[in-house]
Amino acid sequence: MPVFSFNDTLLLATVLFSVGLAGVLVRRNMIFMLMSLDIMLNAAALVFVGAGARWHDAAGQVMFLLILALAAVETAVGLAIILCLHARGRPTLDADTGNLLQG
């Protein structure tokens, strides 16, 4: 019996994904949103590696690698935006104030 079956991986990834989602929806502070976003990304990465293991294909890990790159870039840009907002006199980092694109 393998150590950690594919079924469990999926189960864990779903839980992680929902937790990350909840975090994004609840928290109004941008930093916390970014962190929750990273959790969701990791959940997805987990599934990829699980699938790669399940079907003996290196592609899973290749995809994991790309998700890493993506996460890195996303965090970098996100933080840059946060810093810029903070500098512009938005101390509260409230996601709801930035609503100039209102329809």
């Binding site: 950690f4 469990d8 992680l16 929902s18 989602l21 609840v26 502070n29 930093i31 290749v62 980092l93």
Partner: protein
């Protein structure tokens, strides 16, 4: 399911929930690092040792450190955590919580029929990953490099504006 696997899984899940519930940003970041380490352990168990190592080095090492730097730069003090408390009223959790629960239930409902008898997990070594990385997915690597370059430029550009305004 092996005890070690259970342990790692539980560490990951508890870490994740703590991240989204903490009021102080630094605590949240540290919990996030813990979840990632748990995750790395899980990856090793899944046979993706190369992936685990990457997770630890890049994700936990580099990205989380970036987070810490930024949080320190923002100098979030007491009033921020008080505000966070005010924002996290219990009723706030209700809407997104329900939505997340629904999605989790639906996903679970969909996933159960998918997984079937699991053959033995043969670990996929870095050698295989390297071959496929630069075999079939050589183009993806190039694209990834473009992505990184774009991100670099964007970050630099946003950062630079801050100086002029002074």
């Amino acid at each position: 399911m092996h005890a070690l696997a259970l342990l790692a899984a539980s560490v990951t899940v508890i870490g994740a929930t703590m991240v989204i519930t903490r009021k102080v940003a630094v605590h949240a970041v540290l919990y996030l690092v813990a979840t990632m380490l748990g995750l790395a352990a899980l990856l090793v168990m899944l046979g993706g040792s190369f992936a685990a190592m990457l997770e630890i080095i890049i994700y936990a090492g580099a990205i989380m450190v970036l987070f810490v730097f930024v949080i320190m730069m923002l100098n979030l003090g007491q009033p921020d955590s008080a505000r966070e408390k005010e924002w996290l009223r219990p009723h706030v959790w209700l809407g997104p919580g329900v939505l997340a629960a629904i999605i989790c239930a639906e996903l679970l409902y969909c996933i159960v029929p998918l997984s079937d008898s699991v053959p033995s997990v043969v670990p996929i070594t870095a050698h295989d990953v390297g071959l496929s990385l630069f075999g079939r997915y050589v183009l993806m690597v190039e694209l990834a490099s473009f992505l990184l370059l774009a991100g670099l430029v964007a970050a630099f550009h946003i950062g630079r504006n801050r100086v002029e305004d002074r």
